[in-house]
């Protein structure tokens, strides 16, 4: 039976008009992307005892099966435990075979560059005390595959031999070599740094090392502003510096024990005038508030002239290393009092390193300042990239210029174009040049050979050779250059690009893998070239990944 009054109209009539209008305004639209301005409704208190231990999902929405319930077994990892596990460095694999006849990198090997050159292409182990020192400096890193073999060992590459020569040179002539190593991920930059430090350590150098530049600038440690003597504001990171000092003390203890203070330093605490440098550094490592003044004092002691005749005043050469240097070649994540980002070079420790790298802080006793870039945690550093590319091109451009000059000299004296010796030009491999120069090298080779084939006049050849000049990468003038970085990189810092291994080197490394029992099967020509190609032309990290780690 239907009523005579529509129920909906009746209901509407019961609500007074003003209240109904207020209701409609308070209501939200059925669908809106803009946030509601009205306050959120108060949350319901969870009913105690009823829903505890159960999942928060609505009943009926999910299928209730025993396997869908997440059960917690054991205790959750303590804070920092996972990170410690991740960062743990294991330098030995007890299951791996001990490689018979694996030589060590020893002082005798390192001192004689001729002997070192003989060892090129072979895998050398690190001695126990070297391993301890390098470990104290945190030069071994997780992910480098040390945990796969019985003991740490690395390949002697051409770059390492050049570094060994630089170490010798610095020791003999008290000269300073400053160098930035860059290259692809897994190309062996950090290991080259490690080998350099090991060589320096074996020859009695003081080794300072910043294992990662990233924690300096990513605003994870405390910082405080101080005024320099020149009136600039710089920022010190007491805890970070204390940690670095602790590493230095642990790694160089034997050496620094014999060295005494030679200067009077203004320090917040009174010091004995003749304490050993180990004591000094340890004081800084223990108290973060003292760390920065003690770091400065230690640096000035290290850069003081050596006085071998006085006891404890001998100052050995210094090796300063930093890994992931691109992180200090940009703005840091720290903010100043105006909430503006601080440039990394205004952080005290990065500033000191940069002045060592640029040569502003001299090392009168000789030394090496070496930096490796990071390819896996790569920040955007256009200025550094530009200078790396340019300096790398410069080294190659020199080869082109010498060939051109030799040709010009011949063109001046020769009777006809057929008399000119083209063996150097024919031996040129344009593909080995970095991209912008490769085309120019190819053009030079092609055009001069064509002049030769067509029996062109000497005049035209001379004209072409005069017009030929290698073009280097130029900075885009419409972009702002990071002046801090430019100042460092324009001071004659050398650059080294880490390339892939040659096939012979790859074979040597793979034989080491096989002899360690970490790679099954015979090392044949075919296997080596296959792995070499798959590793992108012998990128050593990829070679290891493909040959040892991959499980198919």
């Amino acid at each position: 039976m239907s009523s005579s009054v529509c129920l909906r109209c009746f209901k509407r009539a019961l609500i007074p008009p003003e209240s109904s209008s207020s209701l409609t305004t308070a209501h939200r639209a059925a669908f809106s992307t803009s946030p509601s301005l009205s306050a959120n409704p108060p949350k319901k208190k969870p009913s105690v005892g009823k829903t505890q231990g159960k999942s928060q999902a609505k009943p009926g929405k999910t299928l209730r099966l025993t396997k869908n319930k997440r059960v917690q077994t054991g205790r959750p990892p303590a804070p920092g435990e996972r990170k410690a596990l991740r960062k743990r460095i294991v330098l030995s694999n007890t299951n791996a075979l001990d490689v018979p006849g694996l030589e060590n990198l020893t002082t005798e090997n390192v001192k004689d560059t001729g002997r070192l050159r003989e060892l090129e292409g072979r895998v050398l182990g690190f001695g126990e005390d070297t391993v301890d020192a390098m470990r104290a400096l945190e030069a071994f890193k997780p992910g480098q595959g040390w945990s796969l073999f019985k003991r740490p060992a690395a390949l002697v590459r051409k770059d390492m031999i050049e570094l060994g020569e630089a170490v010798q040179n610095a020791k003999e002539n008290n000269s300073v070599a400053r160098r930035v190593v860059f290259g692809e991920r897994g190309s062996g930059k950090s290991v080259l740094l490690l080998q350099g430090m090991a060589m320096a350590y074996l020859q009695g150098w003081v080794v300072l090392h910043f294992p990662e530049a990233r924690p300096i600038t990513n605003a994870q440690t405390a910082y405080q502003p101080i005024q320099t003597a020149e009136g600039e504001t710089i920022y010190v990171q007491p805890h970070y510096i204390a940690g670095v000092l602790g590493n230095i003390a642990a790694a160089n203890r034997g050496l620094l024990n014999d060295l005494r203070l030679s200067k009077q330093h203004k320090l917040p605490i009174p010091l004995q005038s003749n304490i050993s440098l180990t004591r000094l550094v340890e004081l800084g490592a223990r108290d973060p508030q003292l760390a920065y003044p003690i770091w400065k004092a230690f640096l000035s002691e290290m850069t003081a002239p050596s006085q071998p005749e006085k006891q404890g005043q001998l100052r050995p050469p210094v090796f300063v290393g930093m890994d992931g240097v691109d992180h200090i070649m940009r703005m840091s994540a720290y903010l100043d009092t105006d909430m503006k980002p601080i440039h990394a070079h205004d952080l005290a420790i990065a500033r000191d390193y940069a002045s060592l790298l640029s040569g502003k802080t001299p090392l009168p006793n000789g030394g090496i300042v070496m930096a490796a870039t990071s390819a896996s945690t790569r920040p955007a550093v256009p200025t550094l990239d530009h200078f790396l590319a340019r300096k790398h091109a410069e080294t190659h451009a020199q080869a082109l210029t010498t060939i051109r000059d030799a040709l010009l000299d011949q063109a001046k004296t020769a009777k006809s174009i057929q008399d000119i010796d083209l063996t150097n030009l024919e031996a040129l491999t344009p593909a080995s040049f970095p991209p912008p120069l490769a085309l120019q090298a190819q053009n030079l080779q092609y055009l001069v050979l064509r002049f030769h084939d067509q029996n062109a006049s000497l005049h035209s050849l001379r004209k072409y050779l005069h017009s030929f000049a290698p073009k280097l990468p130029e900075w885009n003038p419409f972009e702002a250059m990071d002046q801090h970085v430019a100042d460092v990189m324009q001071t004659g810092v050398g650059v080294t690009k880490m390339e892939g291994l040659s096939k012979e080197e790859a074979r040597s490394v793979m034989e080491y893998y096989a002899r360690s029992g970490m790679m099954r099967g015979a090392v044949t020509e075919g296997l080596v070239s296959e792995r070499w190609t798959l590793a992108g032309g012998g990128i050593v990290g990829e070679l290891e990944r493909g040959a040892v780690r991959a499980r198919f």
Binding site: E184, E530, T533, G537, I539
Partner: protein
């Protein structure tokens, strides 16, 4: 009961076909076809066109004067209008198939069977060697003729076409050729012959490969096993070890990895698609250098293009096949 005269007339009608382009051959037909004296009592007229344009059209039926059956068409046309006696005129359709349900189809069938009968003594190609031809589909044919042709009937037509197609090409009569042309599809897919890949003067072979929605173009040259993809090294382009292996799989499977250099450009799709597109391209380029490797490459699975694509989403489904979850109301 049917008289021989009537039969002859029907035959004559079948020959004087309405197709305009065949008109010039009518004289020729007479030498081959059986009835030669078709100028008898009844004669097919050209079709009537119900349009105002008289110049291009020909009448579908013709008014024949019963009193003067032997009048030629030209004459009839010339002294057209004034003397026509409509009571004594009889309309004759152009084709005797006019009274069937599918006159054009019947005409075609009759024409083809005539051709096949007429040329049945010509030498034919051995079985399976006839030039591959794409004939019009039944739908195309039906649309064109606007007649309800049945599948079986069209099959008969195709059988005749295929039979005629077997005539040796050097002896194929012009009339057969032109007739077959009208039944061929506009686009002949069998004429698309892939261009053989060659090694050029610089020792480079270029090939294209595809997989999923990726495509790759590979330049293969003899070398030492270097591999550059889109200007980057193999390991920087493919982070996954498996993808690197599959990109150079054609070379690896034939133990040629250290004999060639690969320079590849690839785009579209994802990493797996790109890697496997490179596989196919490398294999094709390698076959240009060493054609004898084809069976080895086929065993390695590098020769055939994988035609699988992402299946399309369907209405009422969440993905291609996934059904929405059951919800209790």
């Amino acid at each position: 009961m049917e008289s021989p005269l009537l039969r002859r007339c029907v035959r004559a009608a079948a020959h004087s076909h309405k197709h305009i382009r065949r008109r010039p051959h009518i004289q020729q037909y007479r030498f081959y076809a059986a009835p030669t004296d078709s100028q008898g009592d009844i004669r097919a007229a050209s079709p009537i066109r119900f349009s105002s344009n008289h110049t291009s059209s020909q009448p579908r039926a013709e008014l024949l004067d019963n009193d003067s059956p032997s009048t030629s068409r030209e004459k009839a046309r010339s002294d057209d209008a004034p003397e026509v006696d409509l009571f004594t005129l009889r309309i004759v359709p152009a084709s005797p198939s006019y009274f069937t349900a599918t006159p054009q189809y019947t005409d075609d069938l009759l024409h083809l069977s005539t051709l096949s009968r007429r040329h049945q003594l010509l030498p034919v190609l051995p079985p399976g060697q006839a030039p591959r031809t794409a004939w019009k589909t039944i739908d195309q044919y039906k649309t064109e003729r606007a007649e309800p042709v049945r599948a079986k009937g069209y099959k008969t037509l195709l059988k005749l076409l295929k039979q005629l197609n077997y005539i040796h090409p050097s002896l194929m009569p012009e009339e057969v050729k032109t007739t077959l042309e009208t039944f061929k599809r506009d686009v002949q897919p069998y004429l698309n012959v892939p261009k053989p890949i060659t090694v050029d003067a610089y020792g480079v072979s270029v090939a294209v490969g595809r997989r999923k929605s990726s495509s790759a173009k590979v330049y293969l040259v003899e070398g030492t096993g270097e591999c550059v993809i889109n200007g980057r090294t193999l390991n920087s382009y493919f982070a996954r070890l498996h993808d690197r292996e599959s990109a150079v799989w054609a070379l690896k499977a034939t133990q040629r990895l250290d004999k060639y250099n690969v320079w590849a450009l690839t785009k579209g799709g994802g990493t797996t698609g790109q890697a496997e597109a490179i596989t196919l391209a490398v294999a094709k380029a390698l076959m240009a250098h060493e054609p004898d490797l084809r069976p080895a490459l086929r065993r390695a699975g590098c020769v055939t293009r994988d035609p699988k694509r992402v299946e399309r989403k369907k209405p009422g489904k969440l993905k291609a096949r996934k059904m929405p979850a059951w919800v209790k109301r």
